[in-house]
């Protein structure tokens, strides 16, 4: 019943896409399409939430007479898909709400409106799919519709290149997943997930499948070194789509990983977790360091998604390690941490992308070096962005801290693992995780501080205006959810029991009945955290201190020019910029990792020209991995190019030759 209702919602989204296509040029199309998306995804959200909280682990299935004739399309709703449906539809509803206002400024609505609902439908379908055919079809549908959205502003510099890189990586990812499902289906070609679940593959096949899934889902999620497309494509799309791509679509990729590796692939082997953990640790630190080097606000956020994917995969890798060793309670803890972070990241990354979209609308700028002082002109956006920045930096009492805390707790129970490789690896990954959390705080001090604080660095920033009500409502709603999930984490953890049980068969202790709503993941006296208490303590002490001081001491306030050690310079160019803020990080971390270098050109004495500093930061993974592959492809294409200019005679002999070779191969095949 619930499943068919959700499928009906997906159909409604597809229909909305058609409405968007037909009516795109009329003025009413924007509110109609986004309004319909908001209503439909909100309904789907309610249905998924209902299933998640009430029905729990029970799985619903449905078969529609679509797709391959006589076989039909299979759909299934279990705890895991219900949870990811909640993530997808919450993000989608918020993006639609934001777009009700933001979409009015869209210069090319006919390039956005038809594809936006299709993108939402695609993500919903991936999560619901119960056979390889529907899964891959929806996956490709999701990729292509988001690709069309990346190309929405195709005349802007760099966007076509971003879209090209994206489609190449997306096709590559789908190919890897196709091969993975081919291996899972086995010689019988059973393409349904339940058949795959029933027949565990041999260890060698399973290992290859794991590699392929890491390539396929990992390239969509943005695991280093497959992240290269993500910071190009995510910022290129309109901001509400960037939010969905970064906050939600990467989570669909995480879903694909969990579904295949934890559900379909059979019992894991311990060294799988080594692969996942190493990749995750590198992804965490590299992602945040890349982000720190950026001065384009949206690109910074996109790179930062890479870091958060790393944190999620640390949790998944630990869950894999515990599961391989049969430590069910620890696996449940690590999986809960990963899924909690999935939920959290979908909240704050959407919020932050909405904020960057609001800034873009208000100023027309994405480059932080041209922003500044927006907290005065856009107070509500600034407030929401501040909450999002604090949440993503894993600061208590907000939600990002809780999921990182849970991940740390699962790192701390890992001495129980028997393998030596893991004993050395897990603490190192824990250190990388801690490093990336601290760097994330630095990154968001920079992002918020340079964009919203200080003095405006351009005329557009100085004359910005607060964005419309719908956009602000979406941002504030997400900020509120960040706070609520941070101070009532037990509610989220209990809701995560269904998905965790669905994949692992075990779950964390129920948190809701703990005294004072404290979070006690493993046991009293072992570790506990109470977000509500911390929040109340901070609020009471801050307000109390302010009240006492204002009442008893002094509340006089005088505005004066900035002090700045007696030499205030009126030009806003004297402020710290994004580049100068990141300079120490570039120097400490970047000289090796990004081949960062600075070149200062001083004018000759007496010359009144300005001195220049040129900074170069390179993506070495691009230089060493992607550029050689791309140039090799080009070289091979050049070699094969003459084949395009042959006579009919030559072509016919080529076809004949190919036929003979194929027949020979078939004849000689054992």
């Amino acid at each position: 019943m619930i499943l068919s209702a959700i499928l009906a919602m997906v159909a409604a989204l597809l229909a909305t896409g058609i409405v968007g296509l037909v009516a795109a040029r009329s003025r009413a199309a924007t509110p109609i399409v986004y309004g319909a998306c908001l209503l439909v995804t909100a309904a789907a959200l309610a249905l998924a939430l209902d299933h998640l909280l009430r029905a729990g682990t029970g799985a619903l299935t449905a078969t529609l007479p679509l797709g391959i004739p006589w076989l039909g399309a299979h759909f299934r709703l279990d705890g895991l898909s219900a949870f990811f449906l909640v993530v997808v539809n919450l993000g989608a509803a918020m993006a639609s709400l934001f777009a009700l206002g933001y979409g009015r400024h869209e210069t090319a609505p006919e390039r956005v409106l038809p594809f936006f609902p299709l993108f939402l439908a695609g993500m919903n379908l991936v999560v619901l799919a119960d056979d390889a055919f529907v899964f891959l079809l929806s996956w490709e549908f999701m990729s292509l519709s988001s690709w069309a959205l990346v190309l929405a502003h195709h005349r802007e510099e760099g966007n076509t290149r971003a879209a090209l890189v994206y489609i190449v990586m997306a096709s590559f990812g789908t190919l890897a997943l196709l091969l993975a499902f081919g291996l899972l289906a086995g010689p019988e070609g059973s393409y349904g997930f339940d058949a795959m679940r029933a027949h565990a593959p041999t260890p060698a096949v399973a290992a290859v499948t794991l590699g392929l899934v890491l390539l396929g889902a990992g390239s969509k999620a943005g695991i280093v070194p497959l992240h290269a497309w993500l910071p190009l494509a995510h910022p290129a799309a309109p901001s509400h789509v960037s939010a969905l791509m970064s906050g939600v679509m990467t989570k669909v990729a995480v879903y694909a990983f969990i579904r295949v590796v934890f559900d379909l692939l059979g019992p894991p082997v311990w060294w799988w977790s080594v692969v996942v953990l190493v990749l995750a640790g590198i992804t965490c630190v590299m992602g945040v360091l890349y982000a720190l080097m950026q001065h384009d606000l949206k690109r910074l956020l996109a790179y930062h998604t890479v870091e958060n994917i790393g944190i999620i995969f640390v949790g998944l890798g630990l869950a894999l390690a515990f599961r391989a060793n049969g430590i069910a309670w620890a696996a449940a803890l690590a999986m809960t941490a990963a899924l909690f972070h999935v939920f959290n990241h979908s909240l704050f990354k959407s919020l932050l992308f909405f904020g960057s979209g609001a800034v873009l609308t208000a100023t027309g700028e994405r480059d932080m070096e041209h922003l500044g002082g927006l907290i005065h002109r856009m107070p509500r956006t600034a407030f929401a962005f501040l909450i999002g920045s604090a949440a993503i930096s894993a600061l208590p009492p907000l939600n990002g801290f809780v999921s990182e805390w849970l991940t740390f707790q699962s790192v701390l129970v890992s001495p129980t693992l028997p393998q030596w490789g893991l004993k050395f690896l897990v603490p190192a990954v824990g250190a990388l995780l801690a490093l990336s959390a601290a760097l994330a705080a630095a990154c968001f001090v920079k992002a918020f501080g340079v964009t919203f604080l200080g003095r405006p660095r351009s005329a557009q920033a100085a004359s910005a205006h607060e964005v419309d009500g719908a956009s602000v409502a979406a941002m504030l709603a997400l900020a509120m959810l960040c706070l609520l999930a941070g101070i009532f984490p037990g509610v989220v953890i209990d809701a995560l029991a269904a998905p965790v049980t669905a994949v692992l068969g075990s779950q964390m202790a129920v948190q809701l009945y703990m005294p004072w709503l404290t979070l006690v993941p493993l046991g009293e006296g072992r570790s506990s955290y109470n977000g509500l208490m911390v929040f109340l303590f901070i609020a009471v002490s801050a307000l109390g201190a302010a009240a006492v001081i204002h009442r008893l001491a002094s509340h006089a306030l005088r505005r004066a020019p900035a002090w700045d050690c007696g030499f205030p310079e009126p030009s806003p160019a004297t402020q710290y910029t994004a580049g100068s803020f990141a300079q120490p990080f570039r120097r400490v971390f970047g000289t090796k990792l990004f081949a960062a270098s600075e070149r200062v050109t001083m004018p000759a004495p007496g010359d009144l020209g300005p001195a220049r500093i040129e900074i170069s930061v390179r993506d070495l993974i691009w230089d060493w991995m992607y550029a050689p592959i791309a140039s090799a492809v080009l070289r091979i294409a050049d070699l094969l190019n003459p084949l395009q200019f042959q006579t009919v005679r030559r072509y016919l002999s080529l076809v004949f030759g190919a036929l003979v070779v194929l027949l020979l191969v078939l004849a000689l095949w054992p």
């Binding site: 250190a431 959390a437 901070i538 201190a545 002090w563």
Partner: protein, 318 residues
Amino acid sequence: MALILDIAIQGAQMAVVLALAPLLTGIVRKVKARLLRRRGPSIVQPYRDLLRLLKKEAIVADTASWLFRVAPYMVFACTWVAAALVPSFASGLIFSWSADLIAIVALIGTARFMLALAGLDVGTSFGGIGSSREVLFASLAEPAMIMIVFTLSLLAGSTQLSSVIGYMLAGEVGLRVSLGLALVALILVSIAENARIPVDNPATHLELTMVHEAMVLEYSGRHLAMIELAASLKLLLYLSLIAAIFAPWGMASAGSGPADYAIGAAAYLAKLTVGGLLLAVFETSIAKMRVFRVPEFLGAALMLGLLGTVLLFVSRSL
């Protein structure tokens, strides 16, 4: 009745850390002055400074936003809550479960996040330089601190500070290499976190050498008082943390009698004084290092912490 008593003791703990924090700063300053053969201000001078600042009118730059005015209270509140969660004279207080060691570290992170933003708010070059360097130091000090927490909690089987102290008091610890590494790392982190020499100079008047002071350059009046108080509380927090973990002797535990609490309080005062003395001696005997040497300093702390953790991971199975 017992609940009221527990809450009263928790309240006393909060009051004690708040009341003692400026005194500790005063002691350190006095000892440093004496070591430099100056007479130095009285040890209650920080209280006088705070009172004077509180009574003064606050001057706020034209370009400052609401964040500039909210940040001092937030910094103070987060630091105070974190400091109050570190056991001083007694462990196992009623609210001690509301945040474990990781959360205490993160609370200090929240305070720093607000302060670094406040440094950027006015839009001056000094504020920016301070914020940028502060978060650079923090980005290495925080993981080092988390590694220390890992070491301790792997030993004690808990990230709860009260449980860690219980474990250390139980006397089954013996001499452990990991603990030694953790202690050294914790001292390095404490020095960096509190902007002490050789990382930063709390008494500097040369702008380019300042980190913490550059960040709060624009503050005055009651806002500055809050920030100064928060800095004192942070110093107290780290000294209490070192004392509570590595020298937990004399500490009262939940449900002790008044005599135990008196002993605990006396022991705590003694520990703080000794800690302050050692810090002053250390600071006087060393020169400040260049900013870009600090990452090496903190990298050492991080490596020591990691080494301690890995040793424990490995030794579990031996």
